[in-house]
Each structure stands twice: as structure tokens, then as C-alpha cells.
């Protein structure tokens, strides 16, 4: 069964339930291919595949977890997966690195430690972890990240983001939709914020937000002991009432806040 290759012309749903693994995902056209190495004993990993009546291919990789050896002494697996671009991928692990190239449909990843790097996801991305960085190039849906310690970096997010990290930087290229960013001790930088709403709360970190060209933004920006600056003129009413609207609220305790036109810093 290993390596595995099955045709997939419809939806693909992949679930990977492993403790320690290095997961590499690449894009294929109409097959799902799986290759697992690093298995300690035959039967450590159970691979299930099925095809629903509607053509949906389901692939599940489950590792037997033994009490007491999940942590530390277990050698990690390397899981190479090639899957069509509409694939829904779910990873549930303890220490997993997840890297994807090409396009995925949606990603749910839960891990205690490990980095997550995704190239292009057409739908939603959910990542929950304790330590590790999250880097996503393009998200067509919502980006939802909850970390204790780690940086969050996103290129373009189309449908809002909920980003929370205790000690890590948040860097976003461009964002639209309803978004919230919470960080305790990291800087938050949004190069270009488009229509929607963006609420940023930071305890001790600097915040900079670029306003996308053509977007009118209502501001409520405050800091308890830092400085607030706007490179754009602030008026008492919208100068272009018909332009797309952004509601921007930023609050920090001890950081500086800067509002600027997006063109200056957007990639």
C-alpha cells in the first residue's frame, strides 16, 4: 500500500493523524499519491482510503500512539503527499512540520510544535499550535491562526483573518474582510488593509497599518504610553463617502501606532 497512488477526479479529503512528522504536500492534477518513510515498525501507520458515491476520495493516515513514547523518543515520519488543488487537508499532530507547494482547497492544522508553510489555499486556513511559525502566501478564504509563541506571516488574505499569538510578530501583506489581530508582545504590520474591518489589540508591540488605495477608513487608534501617527490627513467625515469602507480600530498599551498609505509599504 506504500507508496500509494489513486485516481481522484472529484473532491479529495485527507486527514493525517500523527504525532511527529514532516509533511510535504505538492500539487498533482488528478491523482492522490502518498509515500511514507521513517516508519519504525510495520503497522505503526494505518492508511485508509475510500471513495464516496459522489466521487469524493477520502484518505486517512493514522499513527498508532503508544502511551509514554509519543513524546521524545519517537522517530518522526516523513509523509509526502501529492494531491489535486481542491483538496481539503486536516493535520492533527504533536510535533509536525507542514509544508505545501502549489494549491490546496482548505487546511486545518493542529499541532503543539512545528512550522506551517503553505503556498496557496483557495479556501479557509485554520492553524492552532503552541510553538512554531505560520507562513501562508495566499489565502482565498479566512485565515485563522492561534499560537502561543510564533510568528504569523501572510501574503494576501481575501476573506478576513483571526490571528492570535502571545509572543510573535504578525506580518500581513494585504487583507480584506472582517479581521482581528491580537498579540501580547509582538509587532503587527499590515501593509495594505482593504474594505471590511480590522481590529488590532497589542500589549507591547508597534502596529503599522497601510490603508489600501481607494479605501476610506474610519479610525479609532489609541495607545496608552506610545505614540500614534497618521501619514494620511485625518478628517471629521469621509472625503469620498462612496468608496469602499474599512473600520479600523487599534489599541496598544506600550507600542507606537502608525497609519500610512498602503502604496508606500505594500509589497
Amino acid at each position: 500500500m506504500n507508496p500509494l497512488s489513486i485516481p481522484a477526479n472529484g473532491q479529495v479529503r485527507v486527514e493525517i493523524n500523527v504525532a511527529v512528522a514532516d509533511i510535504r504536500v505538492s500539487e498533482s492534477r488528478d491523482t492522490v499519491a502518498l509515500h511514507i518513510t521513517g516508519e519504525r515498525d510495520p503497522g505503526d501507520v494505518i492508511v485508509d482510503t475510500s471513495t464516496d458515491a459522489d466521487g469524493t476520495v477520502r484518505l486517512t493516515v493514522t499513527e498508532k500512539r503508544r502511551r509514554g513514547v509519543v513524546w521524545g523518543r519517537r522517530r518522526g515520519l516523513t509523509i509526502e503527499l501529492a494531491t489535486p488543488p481542491s483538496t481539503s487537508l486536516t493535520v492533527d499532530g504533536v510535533a509536525t512540520d507542514l509544508r505545501s507547494t502549489g494549491t490546496l482547497g482548505s487546511v486545518h492544522c493542529s499541532t503543539a510544535a512545528g512550522d506551517t508553510r503553505l503556498d496557496h489555499v483557495t479556501g479557509d486556513v485554520h492553524v492552532k499550535g503552541a510553538t512554531g511559525d505560520v507562513r501562508v502566501a495566499v489565502v482565498g478564504g479566512e485565515l485563522n491562526v492561534h499560537l502561543v509563541s510564533g510568528d504569523v506571516t501572510a501574503g494576501d488574505v481575501a476573506a478576513g483573518a483571526q490571528l492570535r499569538t502571545a509572543s510573535g510578530k504578525v506580518t500581513v501583506g494585504s487583507i480584506r474582510g472582517i479581521s482581528a489581530v491580537n498579540s501580547v508582545s509582538g509587532d503587527v504590520r499590515v501593509a495594505s488593509a482593504g474594505a471590511g474591518s480590522l481590529a488590532v489589540q497589542v500589549l507591547s508591540g508597534d502596529v503599522s497599518v497601510g490603508i489600501a488605495p481607494g479605501v476610506g477608513s474610519g479610525l479609532d487608534v489609541s495607545t496608552l504610553s506610545g505614540r500614534t501617527t497618521s501619514d494620511l490627513p485625518v478628517t471629521g467625515s469621509p472625503t469620498h463617502p462612496d468608496s469602499p469602507r474599512l473600520d479600523l480600530t487599534v489599541s496598544t498599551v506600550s507600542g507606537d501606532v502608525r497609519i500610512h498609505p498602503a502604496a508606500k509599504e505594500a509589497a
Binding site: G68, L219, V234
Partner: protein, 156 residues
Amino acid sequence: MDLTPHVTALQMTLEDIAGEDEAAIALAHRMAAALAPAMQLQVLDLLGEVALEVSAQLPDGRLDLQLAGRDAVLIYRAEQEAPAPRTSDDEGSETARLTVRMPESLKAAIESAAAADDVSTNAWLVGAARARLTTSPRRSPNPSTSTRRITGYVQG
């Protein structure tokens, strides 16, 4: 306040989860030690959010979070700002009726908040609307660009 007991309590919970397994216990000890700074930050995060939320609801002044070593201190600071011009449009005007639809749970929460403040639900809602209008950047007649706060509009 000393945050250490709270962080220690969280660490003990983590160690309890390890159960009887020696390897798991040893790992839990290491994880608990490694996570202590992050836990401390989470507690500070919570206190920071408390300070911000309470500050937003204070009629004047603000709640500051100060750090002294590992201790966090919440301090109320009064500000000498004039109260919001809340009655200039109201006085002499007639009352109007407005039907509002909202989730049942929100209605219950409003009624309970009004009861806690010992005012009618109507008076509570009018007060909440007035507070929102006087702080909303959309309704601000003049933009404010102090070094600590900016409200108003910008065009990208």
C-alpha cells in the same frame, strides 16, 4: 499583583496531565518550565485586555497596566477632560419610539445589565447609544489626532 502563583498553578495542571508515566512526567516538567514565560505573557495579555476594556467604559480617565519586575499593577489615572456634550441635542427635543430586533440572549443580557445599574431597560439602552455616539469616530464632528489617540477618517 504577583503573577507567579497563577503561572505555577497552570504548570501544576500541566504536570497533572502527565499521569503516572515517568517519561511523560519528565517531559511535562520540561514543558512546564519552558512554557512559563509564555504563560506569564498570557496572564499579562489578559490583564492588558482588561485595562483596555475597562478604560473604554470609564467616563473619564483610564486604567493603566504597569509592570514592575514580575509584578503587574493596575492603576487608575484620572484625566482632566471635559465630559462629552451629551445633552445639547437632547434638551427640549421630544422623545421618539424605535423598534429594535435583536437576539433573545442579547435582550436578556441588556435587561440584566439595566437591573444591575438600577435603571430601566429603556434608560440603559439610551445611555449605551449616547455613549457609542459620543465615542464613535463616524460621528466625531472634529477629527482628533493627539499623540495617544486618533479618531476620524482617512482616505487611502
